[in-house]
């Protein structure tokens, strides 16, 4: 149903609206949420299912990864003052911490990116706004993930 609705946005009455009668009725208010021909068709993919599941699983993993990360970086062994180029170089000499940071980077960026995607979907009102916000988000996510991965793998402790 509701495929026969035409938009009459220009006809919304303002203050001066007295004088409507059966012969000149007030303009019809179109339901903004009717399912029309322009409503996207069903996609029949499991993307949202996997996205939902990913959020739960990555959340559990991130809880452990980030908590230990913060503990090591900010609390243990002299706290935040110990962090310097040498400290980072020392940690990334070990493949264990390289993997840890890589996993944390990817999970955190995808988790946060997907979370922001759902927030944009929920709150952006116009299709154009939604599209551009998501483009911005995807660009930032891809850029950060690639840059971080590049740095972790090509880190040179002897750089000057």
């Amino acid at each position: 149903m509701a495929t026969d609705t035409e938009t009459t946005g220009a006809g919304i009455p303002t203050d001066d609206t007295a004088g409507y009668s059966p012969d000149s009725p007030a303009p019809v208010i179109e339901p903004p949420r009717a399912r029309t021909a322009r409503t996207p068709k069903s996609t029949r993919t499991n993307f949202e299912l996997y996205g939902w599941l990913f959020m739960r699983l990555s959340g559990i993993l991130l809880f452990v990864l980030v908590l230990y990360h913060l503990l090591i970086q900010l609390v243990l062994d002299g706290g935040v003052t110990k962090i310097g180029f040498a400290f980072v170089a020392g940690r990334w000499a070990s493949p264990f911490w390289q993997t840890w940071d890589l996993v944390m980077l990817w999970l955190a960026m995808l988790h946060g990116g997907n979370g922001l995607r759902t927030i944009i979907n929920d709150y952006a009102e116009r299709d154009n706004t939604r599209m551009w916000l998501k483009m911005l988000l995807y660009t930032a996510t891809v850029f950060t993930v690639l840059l971080g991965t590049l740095v972790i793998f090509t880190f040179d402790p002897d750089i000057r």
Partner: protein, 254 residues
């Protein structure tokens, strides 16, 4: 006896009015033939606090302002016509007693949100029922029609008992912040009614309904805010039903 001078009629009138209170109803009025803007209008009426909000609306419509427009049919919480936002919460006007709303302060009454207001408290329910129709809310079976009833054990019936109580009043869907945004989300009510058939042992289209709700605007848009469970006048655990559909989708896949 103590006041023999008091006229009998006068006394009867006083006794009759004794239990009445003066309550203010602040109603969100909208008439597109008068103004494009909706506005609040206060009505002060004398009413028994043990009456319902619907009785107050009737009193206003019948005795004060006949242009007040709202839906109601059975007036006993079964037909689901008179869901409205009373004091900021979605409720059925016919199940809300005035004494429960602290009537010393103005009681606000407005149309449910997320659906186009047509006039005063009446909204266009088409998008709501469209979502309902989309989940195929009817029994789907294959094979020959049995000559008797389709039997079901008490346990199988119990599985979806909660979601059979839905009266389609839209209190849940119109309390859902995800539905408020673009209205493409199926909404709690449609998912509840899909749940009612997905978990019915006699039905054979659970797979199809799950596939429909697996889509972009299906159950995965639920943010588990529990607004729907709070709003349901029938006490259905709506969010739980949505979670059960999610779980069915996950276990079906893995």
């Amino acid at each position: 006896m103590s006041t023999p001078v008091m006229d009998k009629e006068e006394r009867a009138a006083k006794a009759a009015a004794d239990h009445l209170i003066t309550a203010t109803f602040r109603i969100r009025r909208f008439n597109p033939e008068i103004s494009a803007e909706a506005s609040w209008e206060d009505f002060r009426i004398e009413i028994d606090p043990k009456e319902r909000v619907l009785d107050a609306l009737h009193k206003i419509k019948w005795e004060v302002d006949g242009t007040l427009t709202f839906r109601r049919s059975c007036a006993h919480g079964i037909c689901g016509s008179d869901a409205m936002r009373i004091n900021g919460r979605n409720r059925l006007a016919c199940k809300t007693l005035i004494k429960d709303l602290s009537p010393s302060k103005p009681i606000s009454v407005e149309a449910i949100k997320g659906l186009t207001v047509l006039k005063d408290l009446i909204v266009d329910m088409d998008p709501f029922f469209q979502a309902y129709r989309d989940v195929m809310p009817f029994l789907v079976t294959s094979g020959n029609e049995p000559t008797r009833e389709r039997h079901q054990t008490a346990e199988d019936r119990e599985r979806f008992d909660d979601t059979t109580k839905c009266i389609l009043c839209a209190a849940c869907t119109s309390s859902c912040p995800v539905f408020w945004n673009d209205g493409q989300y199926f909404g709690p009510a449609a998912i509840v009614n899909a749940h009612r058939f997905i978990f019915d042992s006699r039905d054979e289209a659970a797979e199809q309904r799950l596939e429909i709700l697996n889509d972009k605007d299906g159950v995965w848009r639920c943010r588990t805010t529990f607004n729907c469970t709070d709003a349901c006048p029938r006490g259905i655990e709506v969010t739980k039903a949505i979670q059960e559909v999610k779980r069915a989708l996950i276990t079906r896949r893995f």
